[in-house]
Symmetry: C2
Subunit: 109 residues, 2 copies
Amino acid sequence: MIVDTPVRGSDSGRPIMALLDLLGRRWTLRVIWELREAPLSFRALQAACEGMSPSVLNQRLAELREALIVEAGTEGYALSARGRGLLQLFGPLGLWAEDWAEALRQQQS
Amino acid sequence: MIVDTPVRGSDSGRPIMALLDLLGRRWTLRVIWELREAPLSFRALQAACEGMSPSVLNQRLAELREALIVEAGTEGYALSARGRGLLQLFGPLGLWAEDWAEALRQQQS
DNA sequence: CATATTGCTTCTGAATCAGTAGCACAAGAT
DNA sequence: ATCTTGTGCTACTGATTCAGAAGCAATATG
């Protein structure tokens, strides 16, 4: 249940810790990322995440909704205004990742 | 072993997915965050993460080192130049979290 | 009415994590 | 030389979380 874990780490009283903990659960970042452009239905979201199990997806969606980051509308699940704000902080992440992947490739060869 | 999982999700060939997967493992974001100011020893890092188990910490450090985000020096573990670049992208995260925590508080009352 | 789609729930086995204990090594004190 | 102290880390066991398949109730569609 969600109520049992108000957000792991939030007992420290430091919001950043609660946030890092929330984002550090499997698939959470990915789900936010997949909602970056348009709302997605439950099953579309599941497909976008390469078939992640519905039980976990449901759990993540519940957590993100309770955290006011994701909301459910007629078109499916979407980022809230607040969620879009969070996503913007990750903005250049794609660019960083490209450069990073290049470095990893060179390291391995 | 690390070799077994070159980084989960990297098979998609999209670096961003590999990155989100790496960062989405428990404690990974937190470890990067705790190294934001100064290098920390293994045990200092463990303490900063509220006593996270050494086995997992060791695993995360190995992953982050292989990913060229963290490096081990004489003063302990530190972010690499690349790692600091990644951290900068998370820069305003603390501010966002403060605002977010305030919204959650109002929601609950 | 039949079929399809959607949002889930339930279940079981597998992977991951938590927590304790402790080892091997190095530096400093006695 | 030896005793302590601190360090990085490994091994182990039990708890939690996740994966994957199956399927159900509700709504839509033919």
